[in-house]
């Protein structure tokens, strides 16, 4: 009750609504208007030249029934799950590790963060060359195990993509966990060691629960972010071999800008927007992101 009253009065005494106007106008002009146009285009046939012709629900039927789009949806979901499952444990452990105050850890932290400084396109080009079966790492080091046809084998390409994405984004999430772990008061650990808890126990019973909201933040970023992986996959595999890495954003791009079916591509992009909205709403609801409280009350 009291919170409702506070927020109601804050609405009156806070900055006027007009202050938000410039931002809202820009948002409307560059986000809402184009989105409305995309919804309109999804009901037309248009090849980018001439004027769009009304198509009714043709594109929607195609987008919802075609095996290509369904496969793209499935791959996107799979990529989301795999990215989360691979990146979370690694970045959590790394983050907690580099949160320590020792010198050598600071040095290692600097090394871990190098991928953050490289642009996505550069990362994709580098890995494309490293993973090349004829001239890549496997051939250079003469290690047949590394000389697999990573990006050319439909079974392997998807996992190669998961790996490269993890390589790129683990540093960022490590940084989040590092910051989170450093916020945990040392007194908690002191109390625990007095009670006789070892390192592993301390990790499970202090570090992990205290990092709960960091995990939520990082997972939200990973899950919603995985809907927008485009540049890396585009340069790395272009959606191939066959359809094996053609995730939804790529499917949209290829349909729109290579096949010149703007209508169908618009329908796919609306699906993508809806998926993103539903996911972030669901995450907000189930993770308790909106009800977050300090975990250090009373300390």
């Amino acid at each position: 009750m009291s919170t409702a009253k506070v927020s109601a009065s804050a609405r009156h005494s806070g900055p006027p609504f007009l202050m938000a106007l410039p931002a809202l106008l820009l948002f409307a002009l560059f986000a809402l208007v184009p989105m409305a146009i995309v919804v309109y285009l999804s009901f037309t046939h248009w090849d980018g030249l001439g004027s769009p012709a009304w198509a009714g629900v043709d594109n929607w039927r195609e987008a919802l029934t075609s095996s290509v789009t369904r496969n793209a949806l499935w791959l996107t979901a799979k990529l989301m799950v795999f990215s989360w499952a691979v990146q979370t444990p690694i970045s959590l452990l790394l983050g907690v590790f580099v949160a320590g105050k020792q010198r050598y850890r600071a040095l290692l932290a600097v090394l871990y963060f190098v991928p953050l400084l490289i642009s996505t396109a550069a990362i994709a080009v580098i890995f494309k060359n490293l993973l090349d079966p004829n001239f890549g790492l496997g051939a250079a080091l003469n290690l047949p195990i590394l000389g697999q046809d990573w990006l050319g084998d439909p079974q392997l390409a998807f996992y190669a993509v998961v790996f490269v994405i993890a390589w790129q984004f683990v540093p960022f999430h490590t940084l989040l966990y590092q910051a989170g772990a450093r916020q945990i008061p040392a007194s908690l650990y002191e109390a625990a060691s007095i009670d006789g808890a070892g390192r592993v126990k301390q990790f499970w019973h202090i570090t992990l629960p205290q990092l709960r909201y960091t995990i939520v933040t990082s997972s939200t970023l990973m899950v919603v972010g995985s809907l927008t992986y485009f540049d890396l996959v585009f340069v790395l595999t272009g959606g191939g071999p066959g359809y094996s890495t053609r995730i939804l954003p790529l499917d949209m791009y290829i349909t729109g800008f290579q096949s010149n079916e703007m209508g169908l591509a618009s329908a796919i992009s609306v699906v993508l927007v809806l998926a993103g909205l539903v996911l972030s709403l669901a995450l907000l609801r189930f993770s308790g992101f909106s009800r977050m409280r300090s975990q250090q009350a009373g300390m």
């Binding site: 006027p16 410039p22 820009l26 090849d47 046809d149 191939g240 066959g242 359809y243």
Partner: protein
Amino acid sequence: MTPRMSRRALITASAATLTLTLAACGSSGRTAGGAGGDGTLAWALTQGSEATFRASATEWNKDRPDSKITYQFFQNDPYKQKLRTAVGAGNGPVLFENWGGGGLKSYVDAGKVADLTADLDASPAWKNRIFPSVLQSATFDGKVYGVPVNGVQPVVLYYNKDLLQQVGAQPPKTWDDLLALVKQLKAKGIAPISMGGASKWPDLMWLEYLVDRVGGPDTFADIAAGKKGAWSDPAVLKAAQMIKQLVDAGGFAKGFTSVSADTGQAEAQLYTGKAAMLLQGSWGYGSINTGSPKFVSAGKLGWAGFPSVAGGKGDPTNIVGNTANFFSVSAQASAKEKKTAVSYLKDGVYNDTYVDSLLKNGDVPPVKDLDAKIKASANADWSSYVYSLARDAKNFQLSWDQALSPELGNDLLTHLDQLFLGEISPEQFCAQMDKAAAK
């Protein structure tokens, strides 16, 4: 500051912002970015013939201050999208480079390209110097919408002479020769054929040649005409089966599906002795020559036509590839701009210095009576081979991904990729293509 004042100030500020934004959207004008300066704007590609284009514009502009040509250059893949967006929005250039075929036809259908037929008919010398088979790629319903501006690009079979010598073999004359050669090379531990499979379009060259050799040019003519069930033609099925046969026999170098054609790796496999053969467009010669000039100058690079198929209908002189790149004139150009563009295409393109510049670069223009010039050029052996190939071909089939609509071309490349990967059978390939064509 009272709230009222700040409110008014904000409204003014946001109104000003909005006006500025809108103004910026509306002011780009016809020259698309305004970087063109004065003169008639032409858009072209960075690779290949850029040097020739630049030189010809400099020469052209020297004596013609009133009808200048201004070039802007773009990279291949971004160019296709930029051109489409710009022309669609009415901001396109006057002259634009293209590949003819289905891509150009979509612009013609949208009414964006000027008809050049009358201009060509008015000047027989201009029209008659060009190979008719090449001009065909930019001709729709008997009207010409573009003229070639650089060299012909037929697809040929390159081979490493050393590696073929090791197994004591000649370049394959027939499909059976090729299969036997694959076996021999594999027995010696040599990868038979390298290919940039990750780029998908190199896959297509095999299908194009095999369909032609088995069924003749009519098979693709039916496909291009959109005839129902044309993809299930026995010739297409046979060609797809032959591809499967070659893949299953281990004809292609290990990992070919992850080799990108854009980085020259397939060529590198050939000249570093990792693979014995490569089916590639005539631009492959330039890549190999740049990658390893010694390999070419030592005479280790061989080239041959695509093998014939026993019992096939196609003439063995038939070739496939890119006929040439074309320049087309925008239908939105003013009368003066169009006049400048047409006179440049007539007198500025394929004149003596222009042709010499192309030949120096290893490009062979589809222009009649060049034998003497070619004999005197730097890469005489290669250039004469390409020239006679293009001149004597009974049929010069434009690459299918260019000849078909971009939509169908894209589906074709992906399904073909799946065929090479063994993900779908030859029968499935034909059925899926029929389905895609019926859309």
